[in-house]
């Protein structure tokens, strides 16, 4: 098998996931949060494909494609919501969007 060993992939994926998670936790713009969520999803995809290649089986790749499809749909909805908020001139700050407070 060519290319780097599996450890590199795992480390890269962990770094990507942490970046995404920190983005979600620390940033306040919903757009950035959405992007960070995408990064987290893609770190998982990277692991799926890396292990699929390691074991020589295709099911990991199929999962990755499914995740991409779901992520695309989610982005459509999420971006739609954000555009709707922007059109109403509502400030794009998740700390201020607290109408669902209990």
């Amino acid at each position: 098998m060519r290319g780097p060993d599996i450890q590199w992939y795992v480390v890269l994926s962990a770094l990507l996931f942490t970046t995404g998670a920190l983005g979600v936790l620390l940033r306040r713009s919903p757009l950035i949060i959405l992007l960070s969520v995408e990064i987290m999803l893609n770190s998982a995809n990277l692991l799926l494909i890396a292990f699929s290649r390691l074991h020589g089986r295709e099911d990991g790749q199929i999962f990755a494609i499914s995740v991409m499809a779901v992520a695309a749909s989610e982005v459509v909805v999420g971006l739609g919501l954000i555009v709707a908020l922007g059109r109403r001139h509502i400030e794009l700050d998740v700390d201020k969007l607290r109408t669902l407070r209990g």
Binding site: V24, V94, L97, R98, T99, G102
Partner: protein, 624 residues
């Protein structure tokens, strides 16, 4: 024979069902004619059965026919059995015969009523229920009929459902009758326990003689009889039941249903003979009722209520009759009473109908002058009620009192009560007659009296009343105890009397009875017609009906209210409502506290998620 019995029973049921299903698709008049025709058909079937029975020997006159087994429970089987014997054929003839006349009368009386169809469906249902009661071949069917006549009585008392008083009266009647039904049901349970059956012959042969069980059984049956026949102490519903239409009062609350108690005692006389104390109690309550009702009737001002109290009083006589063991005499009085009391009610109905529904005798005063026909039939009915020779009441009432005279010291006390009652009957019956039917018409009567096409009432109301007047006048000649007694002979195989008055007792009672009745009439004449005696001020005790309603109100209504209030404040509020509010309070508090976590900050949710997963990851790694 059996086919005739089934026809008699089922025709009125078919009519009730047909009128109900047809609803507004048939004209109101058609409903009236269907009901009348089927009741007459039932009467024809009863007459046919009677004629067949006349041709048979006395021992073979009882016919039982079972269509199917209604109830099977373990070793017990109860069939839908009709028993046609001497006693039930007599009741069938009275119920369907008087019933036909009264339903035919209703055609005129109820004309123009909005809900005529409902009325006639109920009437047919009543006739069916009453026939089921008298034709049933076992005590279970009798109880079924017993309950159903109570239901149809309830429906008809509350017929004018827009009147609150009618609804209240219907409920009162239903509740008191339900009490009687319950005691009867308890008696039947005891019978099943001790004899294992409910058919008449089997029950009579196997039920215990004397002892607590026999007394309890008879007492339970007596409770049903007292409630249905409006005797002390379960009588207060009958005067209120006058809220129903007048033909209903005539059919149900005078001629047939309220006399069912007398039929029950005559039918189950073996059970009552096994418990002499209870039979004496029945006679004593009858005597007390006849006196009390007579006294109350003296001061009532509603024409129908006076007649209602008179009904209670006359049924008191019947209870005295069957209570001393003179079953045929009690049944004889039941028959003549059905004629003359239906006549009195229907006669009063013509007067009420002609004066825009007014029932107060002070307003109706003198209306008889405008209605000569009604005046004559009412006079015949009153004479029969007081028991003046040769009208029917004379023959039947005096034979009851003669039997009482022959029944020892207790019977003599009852006899004395009956004689006082006869005096009261003379006074109240003729107080009514003299006030309403003689003298100058009151201003109210003159103003509101209206003729029906030049007659006092519609044709259907006049011919039925005329026929009843003939029956009330002559039916008594059927039996004159000292000289001829076909009815006693006829009933002997089913209900043989246990007392035999001597001829001297019969003659003494007859002469004394007529003399006292005439004395009562004379007093009424002197007070209300000739006005020679000043009318005494009405006694409050009588006007308030001996405070029975107040007593029951205090005992049961107020008592029940106290109990429910106690339960409300001691059990309901602290225990049930308290525990429930503790549960809701706990949930409310818990959810308010949990709600604080829902702060609307998306990033705090994300932090909770990630830290939760981190903790889980640490836990799993550590667990390895």
């Amino acid at each position: 024979m059996n086919a005739a019995a089934w026809t008699c029973l089922l025709l009125p049921l078919a009519s009730a069902v047909a009128i109900t299903i047809a609803g507004t698709r048939i004209p109101r008049r058609t409903a009236a004619y269907i009901s009348t025709a089927t009741t007459m058909g039932a009467f024809a079937a009863a007459v046919y059965a009677f004629v067949v029975m006349l041709g048979e020997s006395p021992e073979q006159r009882a016919h039982a026919t079972t269509s199917w087994t209604w109830l099977s429970a373990g070793a017990y089987h109860f069939g839908v059995t009709l028993l046609t014997d001497q006693l039930s054929i007599m009741m069938m003839l009275i119920v369907s015969g008087v019933g036909s006349l009264i339903v035919a009368y209703s055609v005129g009386y109820m004309d123009g009523e909005d809900e005529e169809r409902r009325y006639f469906a109920y009437m047919s249902l009543f006739v069916f229920s009453m026939l089921l009661l008298v034709q049933g071949g076992n005590l279970l069917l009798l109880l079924a009929g017993w309950g159903m006549v109570g239901l149809s009585s309830y429906l008809l008392i509350g017929f004018y459902q827009e009147r609150a008083s009618a609804i209240a009266a219907a409920k009162k009647a239903f509740v008191m009758n339900a009490f009687g039904d319950a005691t009867m049901a308890l008696a039947l349970f005891l019978l099943i326990q001790h004899t294992g059956r409910l058919d008449y012959a089997g029950v009579f042969a196997h039920s215990p003689h004397g002892g607590a069980i026999a007394n309890l059984i008879a007492l339970g049956l007596l409770g049903g009889a007292l409630a249905k026949s409006a005797q002390l102490p379960l009588h207060t519903w009958l005067p209120d039941a006058m809220e129903g239409p007048t033909p209903v009062s005539a059919l149900i609350h005078a001629a047939t249903m309220v006399t069912a108690g007398v039929y029950l005692i005559a039918r189950c006389h073996t059970l009552f003979e096994n418990a002499y104390v209870v039979r004496d109690l029945a006679a004593g309550l009858g005597a007390a009722t006849l006196l009390m009702a007579g006294l109350i009737a003296l001061v009532q001002t509603d024409i129908k209520r006076v007649i209602a109290y008179s009904t209670m009083s006359q049924i008191g006589y019947m209870f005295v009759g069957v209570g001393v063991g003179a079953y045929p005499n009690g049944m004889f009085h039941l028959m003549t009473h059905a004629f003359f009391k239906a006549l009195l009610f229907l006669g009063a109905g013509i007067a009420i109908h002609a004066v825009v529904g007014e029932q107060d005798i002070r307003k109706l005063a003198g209306v008889g002058k405008l209605m000569p026909f009604t005046k004559i039939v009412f006079l015949i009915g009153s004479l029969a009620l007081v028991g003046i020779f040769p009208f029917s009441g004379f023959f039947s009432k005096d034979s009851i009192l003669a039997s009482a005279l022959a029944a020892g010291w207790y019977g003599q006390v009852l006899f004395a009560a009956g004689m006082v009652g006869a005096l009261l009957t003379g006074i109240y019956a003729f107080r009514l007659y003299f006030i309403v039917f003689t003298g100058e018409p009151s201003a109210f009567a003159r103003e509101h009296f209206h003729k029906h096409h030049g007659q006092e009432g519609p044709l259907s109301m006049r011919w039925t009343v005329a026929l009843l007047a003939v029956l009330a006048a002559v039916a008594g000649w059927l039996q004159f105890a000292p000289l001829w007694h076909p009815l006693t002979t006829w009933l002997a195989p089913v209900a043989a009397p246990t007392v035999e008055p001597t001829n001297t007792q019969e003659w003494v009672t007859s002469i004394l009875g007529v003399a006292i009745g005439l004395a009562g009439i004379a007093i009424a004449w002197a007070m209300y017609s000739a006005k020679r005696i000043k009318v005494p001020k009405p006694v409050t005790l009588f006007e308030r009906k001996f405070y029975w309603d107040e007593l029951y109100d205090a005992l049961f209504y107020r008592g029940g209210e106290l109990v429910t209030q106690a339960f409300s404040s001691l059990v309901e509020k602290p225990l049930i409502a308290g525990s429930l509010s503790a549960v809701t309070g706990a949930f409310g508090l818990g959810s308010r506290e949990l709600g604080l976590a829902q702060n609307g900050l998306v990033r705090s949710y994300a932090l909770a998620l990630t830290s939760g997963i981190a903790v889980l990851a640490v836990v799993f790694l550590a667990a390895r």
